[in-house]
Symmetry: C2
Subunit: 360 residues, 2 copies
């Protein structure tokens, strides 16, 4: 066959595939409409089902035959589900802005592009808007991330009636930004402590003699560097643009799978999806062995802990509170038993929510 | 059937659809790989085909059975094509930043989310990076848009060897941003002239006594308003976030289909897609009737003009140059004949490119 004949043969097949794809997507949207109708009749107007979406994405990931990688394939299904849902219930999602931050990326990765997203300036504002019902969900970074989050998300949970109903992980890339065009001219590197740490290997190798200066946020580092010849910042490409800096080197993070975790907050948590996490807020007696005693119920019930972080409580009663993530849903019998037990061992226990583990 | 039985029936159908969708998407990606292989063998390494993508999207739009609207359905296909192409040829696209602007929206709408996008600060920089080959394409606003573009895109074409290889239209929403929470407290409204004009009806109705102050850009308006109680800006929600302003009213544009046009620039223009435009740069004799004489060949060959704009030439030789968009591809016989004719009537004619009309 000639090249042209070969090409047109394959293209005809693509056209046929596209036709089938369109019909299937249309039928899927019609099914989503049917689901909404059945639920509405029963008085249920909550059409977004995080646990069902997680199950679908997990299956897609498990059965993906290639050649597209899992990330791309699940992304396409996220978008298809997003479009089908928007037809029945257009979602509004607030995130920690401004636009162009990793938190926006997280919001769109989790909800797809058919939702309307609202950038807000602070984490408490996001909590307020979700509480007030003016948006359906909020997306917030878990940690004092490299984007210079001032208010700690977990602190806000201490006084909020909201729940965690999802988590999402985003791959983070760091770049070296400067007014200089060569590494030889750079004597100091500014960034958030965490970002400097994430690029230590690269910095040791490529800028061994440059001073490393930790500052409040990566954006702040970029702003400072824009006024200081001979310096560089570790930050995102968005910051390069905003502050008029060049990219001296790209993707300098040591760990290529450098990801950051974000939480989805809502007015309810999620039903069981089969692979879930539960986040807890605990306070224990301020005495030797208090933390150990507190964690015994988890060990006894063979519950895995994926994360623990202590925070000053900001209330007079306890010195410290702990944020703990465990594997399993709070309605799972072993988890429920462990939580009952834990409740007796702690001064204070609040379940912040059970939700599907991030699929990718 | 009980509600639960009904639901699980529909959900089983959705699961079956998803399985078929996944297999078809995978097969489509495999076909794209085959196309790339056939082309590579023939020494052709240009896998992105704007005219073919436009044809596919046009067919999708024409045959979309609903219930998803055309915009959503074509968006999903854009993403599927984007993922398939990225497998063979990951595209880099520069756009007029920063992140969060309408130009970024345009870039992602046109290329899908599987490309890597690079925000740059000025239009000449985007031209330079495309010329240098460090990115495959650039996305630039056509007009001195509401985002405060300083350098006029069309001026840059006068001295550039690049071509226009696509256009994309983006729906633009304007909001009223202020430190105030009620309309009654607002005595002045700042914005770019064009945005004030686009919201005139709403402003007449809701703020009849407020002074309207045209400024350089919508972002600049938001910045000024953040320092001036009693004022408001017409700008995007991204600007509200960046400058810490509240949204007093949303989507206040008079025309709900308020769209702005962006151009895709590359090192070559696009082959015939069947529904194409051609952009021209012309200079005519500076005499009475010069413009009329210049346009006669178009009329004679029944070529429709969709846009004409005069610009100071910045070269001593001519007083004015004209940017003209016509319907049809330069290889279309009638267009080719008109261009031949036109070339004889003008002092200077440059074809900036033929490219598929924006599908949506």
């Amino acid at each position: 066959m000639s090249q042209e004949a070969e090409l047109s043969h394959v293209r005809e097949r693509i056209d046929a595939i596209d036709h089938q794809l369109m019909d299937l997507i249309a039928e899927r949207a019609a099914c989503a409409r049917q689901v909404a109708l059945i639920k509405s009749k029963a008085g249920d107007h909550q059409f977004y089902r995080p646990e069902r979406e997680a199950q679908i994405l997990r299956r897609i990931k498990a059965e993906n035959p290639g050649p597209l990688d899992d990330e791309e394939m699940t992304r396409l299904f996220r978008e298809i589900m997003s479009a089908c849902l928007a037809l029945e219930q257009p979602l509004a999602v607030a995130y920690l802005g401004p636009a162009g931050t990793f938190t926006q990326t997280a919001a769109l990765k989790h909800f797809g592009h058919s939702v309307s997203t609202v950038p807000l300036g602070t984490i408490p504002e996001i909590f307020r808007e979700v509480e007030a019902g003016s948006v359906h969900f909020g997306v917030v970074p878990v940690e004092n991330s490299t984007e210079g989050v001032v208010s700690h998300t977990l602190d806000t949970f201490m006084t909020s009636p909201l729940f965690i109903c999802g988590e999402v992980c985003v791959r983070i890339h760091h770049h070296l930004l400067s007014l200089e065009s060569s590494l030889a001219s750079i004597h100091s590197v500014y960034s958030h402590q965490q970002s400097l740490a994430q690029c230590r290997g690269w910095l040791d190798q490529n800028l061994p003699h440059a001073e490393r200066v930790p500052v409040a946020s990566n954006a702040e580092a970029a702003r400072m560097v824009a006024e200081r010849p001979g310096t560089a910042a570790v930050a995102s490409d968005a910051a390069a643009e905003i502050y008029g800096l060049g990219l001296v080197a790209t993707r300098i993070e040591d760990e290529p799978d450098n990801t950051t975790r974000f939480l989805i907050i809502g007015r309810a948590d999620a039903p069981i999806s089969g692979h879930d996490k539960t986040s807890l807020l605990l306070a224990c007696r301020n005495e030797a062995g208090g933390l150990h005693a507190m964690l015994t119920p988890l060990a006894d019930h063979k519950i895995s802990m994926t994360r623990i972080e202590s925070r000053p409580s900001r209330r007079g009663v306890w010195d410290y509170v702990f944020f703990v993530d465990i594997i399993g849903h709070r309605e799972n019998p072993a988890v429920a038993a462990a939580l009952d037990h834990l409740r007796r061992e702690t001064l204070f226990l609040k379940v912040l929510g059970s939700y599907p583990e991030a699929v990718l």
